[in-house]
């Protein structure tokens, strides 16, 4: 499949606010993205605006404050999908097509039960929570992430393992938690399944606490994928660093228009789809 034919569904509801950057990231790399409102998939719209999830090759949940972050971040978006589109989303994921959730999108994937997705594609109840940062505050700054995946995740296939990238974080609820009595057991399971994709590190690439890790998240985890590797959720924003000039140290680089650290996430997924379909 040619990259320009790859259709990307950038899904939004009221309060989503990073759909423009998400759209631009895929557009920049030559794909065919579209900003789609959830009601266009559920059919609560004029017939001409109706869309079918099955017509897309990539599904993307952008960042923002969907439904005002009311109840819990991502919970309302997730509940609305689950009540109307659960079979469509399950089919999409089981067919191997990539699903990406960034920031609020990661919160949606967790609330929806698509991540960590240990025993079934879409768990009936959430198996994790993205909970309030330890600091109790909205944390907004560039963060360093070490790529830890051994090759399963389709969004990082072009990023060597162990490489440190800089993606900006901007969230108040990025603290990944599992049931407290089984937390380390679940982290081990994630490691065994090769589901850990990014961990927060300091500038030297060592695991470090606050402020390097903005949330206090378990085992410094910033991003995980499902056991099959085609669903990725991460708190920091790769779509905000598509060019070097978007990095804080851009004046020290030769070419401000050179690719930024985030580009690899989108290009890996597009390469995967173009090879597979």
């Amino acid at each position: 499949m040619n990259i320009q034919d790859i259709r990307v569904c950038v899904l939004r509801i009221e309060g989503t606010n990073c759909e423009e950057e998400a759209y631009n990231a895929f557009k920049l790399l030559g794909a065919d993205p579209e900003k789609v409102h959830l009601k266009q998939l559920t059919g609560d719209c004029p017939p001409s605006m109706r869309r079918d999830l099955d017509d897309y090759q990539i599904l993307m949940f952008p960042g923002g404050f969907s439904a005002g972050d009311y109840v819990r971040a991502g919970a309302i978006f997730a509940a609305r999908i689950k009540s109307r589109l659960a079979p469509d989303v399950e089919n999409f994921v089981s067919s191997g097509r990539p699903v990406l959730g960034i920031c609020n999108g990661f919160q949606i994937l967790v609330e929806l039960g698509l991540l960590p997705s240990f025993d079934e594609i879409l768990s009936e109840e959430p198996q994790a929570a993205l909970y309030t940062n330890d600091s109790g505050r909205f944390e907004c700054r560039p963060t360093y992430l070490k790529h830890e995946n051994h090759g399963k995740c389709v969004f990082t296939s072009q990023l060597p393992r162990g490489e440190v990238v800089l993606f900006p974080s901007a969230h108040a609820e990025g603290n990944l938690r599992f049931p407290t009595d089984r937390e380390m057991e679940i982290v081990r399971r994630l490691e065994e399944n090769d589901q850990i994709v990014f961990r927060y590190v300091d500038a030297d690439g060592n695991y470090a606490g606050y402020p390097w890790c903005p949330s206090g998240t378990v085992a410094n985890i910033g991003g995980i994928c499902n056991p099959e590797g085609n669903v990725l959720g991460l708190m920091p924003h790769p779509e905000r660093v598509m060019f070097r000039y978007q990095h804080p140290d851009w004046t020290r680089d030769q070419d401000p228009n050179a690719p930024g650290d985030g580009r690899v996430i989108f290009s890996s997924a597009l390469e995967y789809v173009s090879r597979r379909y």
């Binding site: 919970a75 309302i76 509940a79 609330e111 109840e125 929570a129 909970y131 938690r177 407290t180 009595d181």
Partner: protein, 79 residues
């Protein structure tokens, strides 16, 4: 009409940064002897239903949206 008070609490052992920061702020305001501050969320849902149905519906609301069982518990009281 029935009113359901749906109380969402953090599970035992889950940190409560909002409660902890509020405790610190209250101490800075000069309040003494505070042992702990916990945050809970309360939804008041009014329904046209029989009490039994209302309770069942409220519990279903918790399972489908209002509570995340990984970190939260819920309790429904009818009024």
């Amino acid at each position: 009409m029935v009113k359901a008070d749906i109380r969402i609490e953090l599970k035992h052992g889950v940190a409560d940064p909002e409660g902890e920061n509020t405790r610190k702020a209250l101490e800075l305001l000069g309040f003494k002897g505070i042992k702990s501050v916990k945050t809970v969320k309360l939804f008041e849902v009014e329904m046209d239903a029989e009490p039994e149905e209302a309770k069942e519906a409220a519990e279903e609301m918790c399972r489908r949206l209002l509570a995340n069982p990984v970190i939260q518990t819920f309790r429904v009281d009818l009024k």
